[in-house]
Each structure stands twice: as structure tokens, then as C-alpha cells.
């Protein structure tokens, strides 16, 4: 009797040790995970495209975007820690129903754009491996749906995360690819902008893919869920700031690696071109490596983003409980999840260039980012809500400048695009 029972005791011991490791990773951070969620399919392609079209020139924009990301992620984390509420429920409680509805609609549109981009990413990755997207995307849509609604999502999630770790090859590739370091440095730190339509379009897409609304929701929710309070603010702050900086350093290495490989050859047209950037690391296998990473990142986000949207909507109408406790029984949200996957996959199936589609969805997100930024800024400014943890006057200035900067750029480019549709400009 004794002997047969031993292994289970042993397993219990191992499990505890594992749990301790998980706990350490967990403390390392929601900030890290949240900010790095920006490096999904849309992110990879947008950064690669920036590197391909403008070589190192976009690095300065990325530096500004990093500042904005740090500011907004920190505010989101602080809102979560101070109020113990998710962003959507804060917006519902603090603004009129109309404004709250407006923000939720923006969020729905932005996230739907992301879902489209994830399926486009899946299509592009599998095309690289020689599978037609008309087979790949429907299969992936059914697979993701089944895994989340019927299957064991947790295991699938781990596999996806592992696959997407492939992109850690980018920093190495950037080092091995002999970029012109002088050019990298000057383009990063010496202020410069270009007024050309193409440059501004990519700049907005960069903002959209880096400062994605759902990252802010996730940041606040993760802090709340882990029981962070105002007394842990220091640690939470360090986590969110380092997470944002780390994520953007990775993004910048994607730009650098791509610029070193194919910089200045004009806009990115295919995933095969983007894969060139990994040749210094992987040689002939670069394409496969890129495809595997893109697939992992896309599948992960294709499952997570629609879930996050459903959860946000549940928070808005006050039905969080039904979703978090028994997602499978919450018909409305299963429906919402299904519709998102369906629309996302359907749009990604439309004939056309997947890489261009990816860029356009990130551009759309870039137009919505400043709206969510404004909501977050107003919330974090409110002393009635935040007490002593409200934005300090100095922080308020910086955050306001970031918001206005991002907003002005988005508005300018949006107007430019609309004029272009009507044949003006």
C-alpha cells in the first residue's frame, strides 16, 4: 500500500515546486505579457514593413511610441491597482452611458480588426509553408473556435506561446545581420519626421500595433486579478514600465533586422520578404522559422482577442460573472465569440494581399488608439476616483502631450486618407 502511494506524494512535491516557479514568473509580470502582446502577427508585419520601406528611419517614431506606451501602460496598471476594477467597468461607472457605449464600440471595432489581422497572419504563415489560405484559414477558424469553446484552451495556449517564442530570434538576427549601427543610432535618437503619405500611414500603423486598446484592458485586468493594490504600486509600476520598454526593444530589433536585410526596397509585399530578416540566424530555414513564429503568435491572439472582447462587453453590461465562471453556458458570449471568429476569418479570406490587409488593420487600430488613450487619461486624472494616486501635474502634462500627439497624427492621416478616396491630395 505504502509503495504504490509513494509516486503521488512525489508528484505533489514536484507540483508544488512547479507552482513556486509559476508564481515567480507571475510576479515578473502582467506588464511584460501585456506589452508583448503587441508583438503579434500585426506587430511583426508592421515592424517588418517599416524596416523594409523606410530602413532605419522609423526608429525615431518607435522611440516616441515607446514613451507613449510606457505612459499608457503605467496609467492602466495604476488604475487597476487603485480601483480594483477593470477599465471597461470604470468607464461604465465614470462616464455617461453614451460615452461608455462609444468607447465599447471603438473597442469592438479595434479588436475585430485585430482578429482579422490574426487570421491574415495565419493565412500568410501557412502560405509560406505551401498551404493555400483557402484551406488554412477556415481550418484554423474552426480549430480555434473548437479549442476555446469545447476543448482545453490552456494546453493549446502553452503550445501557441512556445511557437511564438521563435520571434526572440529577431534580436540575434539584428546583431548578426550587420546593420549600420551608426545609422541605427542616429535614426533612433535624432528627431526627424517625414510628411509623406506613406511614412505617416506606417507611423499610424506602428502606433496602432504598439498601443493596442486591448493591451491596456489586459494590463489593468491582470493587476486586479493578481490582487495588486495601491500598496504594491511601486512593483506594479516597475513591471508595467519594464514590460513596455522590453516589448518595444524587441519591436525595434525587428525593424533593424528587416532593414539590414531588405531595407529601402519599398513596401513589404509578402511574408517571404519579411522572412529574409531571419536569414542571418536561420539561413535556409528562415522561411520556416518565420512561418512557425507567425503561426504561433497569430493562433494565440486569434483565441485571446475575441475572448477579451467578449469579456469587455460582459463587463460593460455587468455580466462578468457569467463569463468568467461558466463561459460555456453564457450563450450570448459564445455567440459573440463565434461571430468575431467568423467575421475575422471571412475578411481574411477575401482575395487580396494578406500583408496589406494586416497593415490596414493596424492602421485602423492606430486611429482608435487615441480615443482609448483619452478615456484612460481622464480616468487617471480624476482625484475623485484615484485619490492620491491620480496623475501628478507633471505626469499629466507628459500624458496629455502623448495623447494629443497620437491623436493629432491619427486625425491628420485619417483626413489625408479620406481626401485620397475622393481623389483629392
Amino acid at each position: 500500500m505504502r509503495l504504490t502511494l509513494r509516486p503521488s506524494t512525489l508528484r505533489a512535491g514536484v507540483r508544488r515546486r512547479f507552482r513556486r516557479i509559476v508564481a515567480v514568473v507571475a510576479i515578473l509580470g502582467p506588464g511584460l505579457i501585456a506589452a508583448n502582446a503587441g508583438n503579434d502577427a500585426g506587430g511583426i508585419v508592421t515592424y517588418a514593413s517599416a524596416g523594409a520601406e523606410f530602413a532605419y528611419k522609423m526608429l525615431f517614431v518607435m522611440l516616441l511610441v515607446t514613451v507613449a506606451l510606457v505612459v499608457v501602460q503605467e496609467m492602466s496598471a495604476r488604475l487597476g491597482a487603485t480601483t480594483g476594477n477593470g477599465l471597461v467597468s470604470l468607464i461604465r461607472e465614470q462616464f455617461s452611458l453614451r460615452l461608455a457605449t462609444f468607447s465599447v464600440v471603438c473597442l469592438l471595432v479595434a479588436n475585430l480588426g485585430l482578429v482579422v489581422s490574426e487570421f491574415a497572419g495565419i493565412g500568410a504563415a501557412l502560405e509560406l509553408l505551401g498551404v493555400s489560405r483557402y484551406i488554412a484559414i477556415p481550418l484554423a477558424a474552426i480549430g480555434v473556435w473548437a479549442v476555446v469553446v469545447l476543448g482545453s484552451y490552456r494546453y493549446a495556449e502553452r503550445v501557441f506561446i512556445l511557437l511564438s517564442l521563435v520571434f526572440l530570434a529577431y534580436p540575434i538576427s539584428a546583431l548578426l545581420g550587420h546593420p549600420r549601427w551608426g545609422s541605427v543610432a542616429s535614426n533612433t535618437f535624432i528627431p526627424h519626421l517625414s510628411g509623406s503619405k506613406e511614412f505617416l500611414f506606417v507611423a499610424v500603423a506602428l502606433i496602432g500595433t504598439t498601443i493596442t486598446p486591448y493591451m491596456q484592458l489586459y494590463q489593468a485586468a491582470a493587476v486586479v486579478e493578481r490582487g495588486g493594490t495601491a500598496s504594491d504600486l511601486r512593483a506594479i509600476r516597475i513591471d508595467s514600465v519594464t514590460g513596455a520598454i522590453f516589448a518595444n526593444v524587441i519591436s525595434m530589433t525587428i525593424i533593424v533586422a528587416t532593414a539590414a536585410a531588405i531595407g529601402g526596397r519599398g513596401p513589404l509585399n509578402s511574408a517571404a520578404e519579411a522572412a529574409q530578416a531571419l536569414v542571418p540566424v536561420a539561413g535556409h530555414s528562415a522561411k520556416t522559422l518565420f512561418a512557425v513564429g507567425l503561426l504561433g503568435a497569430s493562433l494565440l491572439a486569434a483565441a485571446v482577442v475575441p475572448l477579451a472582447t467578449s469579456y469587455a462587453l460582459a463587463e460593460a453590461v455587468g455580466a462578468e460573472r457569467s463569463v468568467s465562471r461558466k463561459f460555456r453556458d453564457a450563450k450570448l458570449f459564445i455567440g459573440l465569440f463565434t461571430v468575431q471568429i467568423f467575421i475575422g476569418a471571412a475578411i481574411a479570406l477575401a482575395p487580396g494581399n494578406l500583408i496589406k490587409l494586416l497593415l490596414q488593420t493596424q492602421f485602423l487600430n492606430g486611429l482608435i488608439s487615441p480615443i482609448m488613450l483619452t478615456f484612460i487619461l481622464v480616468l487617471a486624472n480624476r482625484t475623485s476616483l484615484m485619490g492620491d494616486n491620480a496623475n501628478t501635474p507633471r505626469f499629466r502634462v507628459v500624458a496629455t502631450i502623448c495623447t494629443i500627439g497620437v491623436g493629432a497624427l491619427a486625425a491628420f492621416v485619417a483626413v489625408q486618407q479620406i481626401l485620397a478616396w475622393f481623389g483629392v491630395g
Binding site: A12, R15, T83, G84, S231, A308, R328
Partner: protein, 432 residues
């Protein structure tokens, strides 16, 4: 209309006379306030009620914007109130700026769009709207609307906004407000909350935002709060303990079972520990302080210090008397300890042995095999599990190096120690 009627859980909104006169609070906001002759004097800004005064609270007045001021109009001055207009019975009113007093709640500002506890359905809801209605000669707050259609109605054109759309209404008698009440003792709340099982209450607390749950815990009776906190997820419980005032936290922790209390304390940082211990009654401070010395993943860390230790000459009758005073610890006692003159452990006498023994016998005569299973306080969880498994007993006794009993580990403590804490991800993907 019929199917949705079935959703009415309360008795009040089921009453026909009330149902036909429901006034939507959200729809009333911005509506004109008129004198008897039809002259508009201002617009409704908010509706005031005192939810703690009665099961079905009275509306005590309106906040009305008159010119640039917000004035309070007591309900006695209201002649008629429909969804579209409010008519006053007097032309004299106090135009001093409205100031909220303790116990007064702004129905639009504090309740609509905020979280509430539905005690009957044991869930957190968010109010889409509130319904008030004339009951007898007063206006009462009768129900909370939680439906989606109502949200759309509020977004729609103005003329639809004031139409009551009873869809999923919960009687106010089944609702507990959280937060926004100021410093009112919630007599009613505690009575209502006692209807819930501690586990359900813990669930509800986990779902509330910070200010709401701090408000709720602050107004809860200590024993109710302690029971609920024992059932909460550790992350969430730690968070809550750091949010509330140390005095309250220390009272709650002192009321918890010592092992649960020590576990909760261990998660707090040293400053918080010191503050909470300092504010605690002497007896609990000693017990918890002792437990705190042990590593949390050791025998000392998971044991309960609730034990009955008696000398051999004590009679069975006397021991039974002691047990009768320990009713609140019934789950932690499966045996009593017999110790020698120096307080060292001699034997572990199960309640069964006690129950069947002659009342007058000294317990010393019950000492004998099976001998107690003991571990030292620094034993690892694995050693505890081995000890329990190899002897098939329901508990083990924790002793010090020199043989003094320190506490007891029951099977459920072992289970707790072995069960992994649930992942935070469940919030996004549900339980799977």
C-alpha cells in the same frame, strides 16, 4: 411581455398596481420640474433615497437644477411624479446648494450603472436602471433593472427614454448596495448577508471592485466577514486585507481560525503584520504570532493551534464540558491530547474513545495504543502527507523538539496545502 414577466422574482414588482406606475429613474433625469400652473422651475438632476431605512426605501427627495444651483426638493413638496414631469405642490423651496447627508444615496449618481449584490440570486449585477413607484402615499424604490434592452432604451431618442421597460427586474428587497453609503452601519445588510453561505459571499467579494468591497466589508459584522474571508482565494483575500483599515482587518483575522489567520497574515508585508497584530486582542495575537514563526509550507505553517490538552487525572466528564465550550471549533477537533506534568504529549484520545468511556474515568486510563502520529513543526508537507498516508488517521499532532504539543494537522489542511491555487487566467477563459 409574458415570458419576461416570469423573470420577476420579487413580490413587489409583480403587483399590478405598482407595475403600471413604474417610473424609470434614468428616464426621469433631465425632465422638467413644474409648479402647479405648469411653469417650469428646473430640471431633475438626481433622485435621493435612504436605502438603509426600510426594506422598501422611501424616495426622500429630488435634486433639481434651478438656474445654476442644484437644490434639494423634499418629496413632500412633490404633488405628482410621472416619467415625464414632476409637479410641485408649493412654490416655495429652499435653493441652498444640495449637500448629501450620511445615509442618503443618489440613485443616478451612486446606483445606476454601478455594481450591486443580488442576495436572492447570489450574484453581482450592474443596474441598467432603477424603478420607483408610488406605494400608498409615498414614493418607493421598488426594483433594479438589469436587462440589456433597457440600456438600448437609455441610448435611444429622448421620448423613449422615460418609458419603463421592465425586463429583468430584481426587487429592491433582494438587493444590497455596496459602496456610496458613507459611514452608515448596515443593519439590514448584515441581516441579509447572513442568508448567504460564506462561500457564496466570498465569491461575491471577489467579483466586486475595490471601493465597493471595501465598503461592504467595512459595514459587515466581524464574524460574517471572517467566515467569508476564510473561503476567499488567497490572492484576493490578501488584497482585501490590505485594502481595509488595519483595525478592522485585525478584528477579522482574530475571528478567523488560527491556522487560516496565520496563512492570511503570512502573505502580508511586515508593516501590515505588525499593525494588524498590534490592534488584535491579546489572546489571538499570541496564538497567531506563534503560528507565524513557521514556514508556510511546513507542518507548523499548515497546522491549527486549536487543541485541547489535559493532564491524565482529568475526568472524561470534565473534558466533555470543555468540548461543549468549543462549539465554534468543531471542525478542528477530532481528538484531545493527554499530556504529562511537564506538558509533554502522552497520547491522542479520539472523540470516539471519549464518547464510549465511563464519564467518571480519568483520561489517563484511556492512554494506550494506537499511539499518536506526530511530526515536528519544521517537517515538510511531504513528510506530513507520508505520515497521514502510512497510518490512515484523520489527523496528526505537531509537537516541538522536546515533545510539547503545538497543534494539529487535519486532513483538510493537508488537502489545502496540496491543491494548487487557481490560475488568474480563469477570468478570461472560464474554468477548464
Amino acid at each position: 411581455m409574458l415570458p419576461s414577466m416570469r423573470r420577476f422574482r420579487g413580490r413587489l414588482v409583480d403587483q399590478r398596481s405598482i407595475r403600471e406606475q413604474l417610473v424609470s429613474v434614468a428616464g426621469l433625469i433631465g425632465r422638467p420640474v413644474e409648479l402647479a400652473g405648469g411653469v417650469e422651475v428646473g430640471r431633475v438632476v438626481d433622485v435621493i433615497a435612504r436605502p438603509e431605512d426600510a426594506r422598501v426605501p422611501h424616495v426622500s427627495g429630488l435634486v433639481v437644477r434651478i438656474g445654476r444651483r442644484k437644490a434639494f426638493v423634499p418629496v413632500e413638496h412633490v404633488a405628482t411624479l410621472t416619467g415625464r414631469t414632476v409637479t410641485l405642490s408649493t412654490s416655495q423651496f429652499d435653493v441652498r446648494e444640495f449637500e448629501r447627508r450620511d445615509g442618503e444615496v443618489l440613485l443616478m449618481g451612486d446606483v445606476v450603472d454601478h455594481q450591486l449584490v443580488d442576495i436572492d440570486g447570489v450574484q453581482i449585477v450592474r443596474a441598467s436602471d432603477l424603478y420607483i413607484a408610488p406605494v400608498g402615499d409615498s414614493i418607493r424604490l421598488v426594483g433594479v433593472e438589469t436587462g440589456l434592452v433597457t440600456l438600448l432604451r437609455r441610448l435611444g431618442p429622448r421620448r423613449f427614454r422615460s418609458r419603463a421597460t421592465p425586463e429583468r427586474v430584481i426587487d429592491w428587497t433582494d438587493i444590497q448596495m455596496v459602496g456610496g453609503l458613507g459611514n452608515v452601519r448596515l443593519e439590514r445588510a448584515n441581516r441579509e448577508l447572513r442568508r448567504l453561505r460564506p462561500g457564496d459571499l466570498a465569491d461575491l467579494l471577489e467579483q466586486l471592485g475595490q471601493s465597493q468591497r471595501r465598503g461592504l466589508v467595512d459595514s459587515m459584522d466581524i464574524d460574517v466577514a471572517a467566515d467569508a474571508l476564510e473561503e476567499m482565494e488567497t490572492d484576493q483575500r490578501d488584497r482585501l486585507l490590505r485594502e481595509i483599515a488595519p483595525e478592522k482587518a485585525s478584528l477579522i483575522i482574530a475571528e478567523m481560525e488560527p491556522d487560516e489567520a496565520a496563512e492570511a497574515m503570512r502573505q502580508l508585508d511586515e508593516d501590515a503584520q505588525v499593525a494588524i497584530l498590534a490592534a488584535m486582542p491579546e489572546e489571538s495575537r499570541e496564538a497567531i504570532g506563534r503560528l507565524l514563526q513557521y514556514e508556510d509550507e511546513s507542518a507548523g505553517g499548515i497546522m491549527t493551534s486549536v487543541v485541547i490538552a489535559v493532564r491524565g487525572e482529568t475526568t472524561v466528564d470534565e473534558v466533555l464540558d470543555m468540548l461543549r465550550t468549543m462549539d465554534s471549533h468543531r471542525d478542528d477537533l477530532d481528538a484531545i491530547l493527554v499530556v504529562d506534568a511537564d506538558g509533554r504529549l502522552l497520547d491522542d484520545v479520539s472523540l470516539f474513545e471519549l464518547a464510549v468511556a465511563d464519564r467518571g474515568r480519568p483520561v489517563g486510563q484511556l492512554v494506550g495504543p494506537p499511539w499518536p502520529i506526530t511530526v515536528t513543526a519544521d517537517a515538510s508537507i511531504d513528510e506530513v502527507v507520508d505520515a497521514v498516508l502510512s497510518n490512515r488517521r484523520s489527523s496528526v499532532v505537531v509537537i516541538s523538539e522536546d515533545g510539547h504539543p503545538l497543534g494539529r494537522i487535519l486532513l483538510d489542511d493537508v488537502l489545502d496545502a496540496l491543491t494548487p491555487t487557481r490560475s488568474w487566467l480563469r477570468a478570461n477563459v472560464g474554468d477548464r
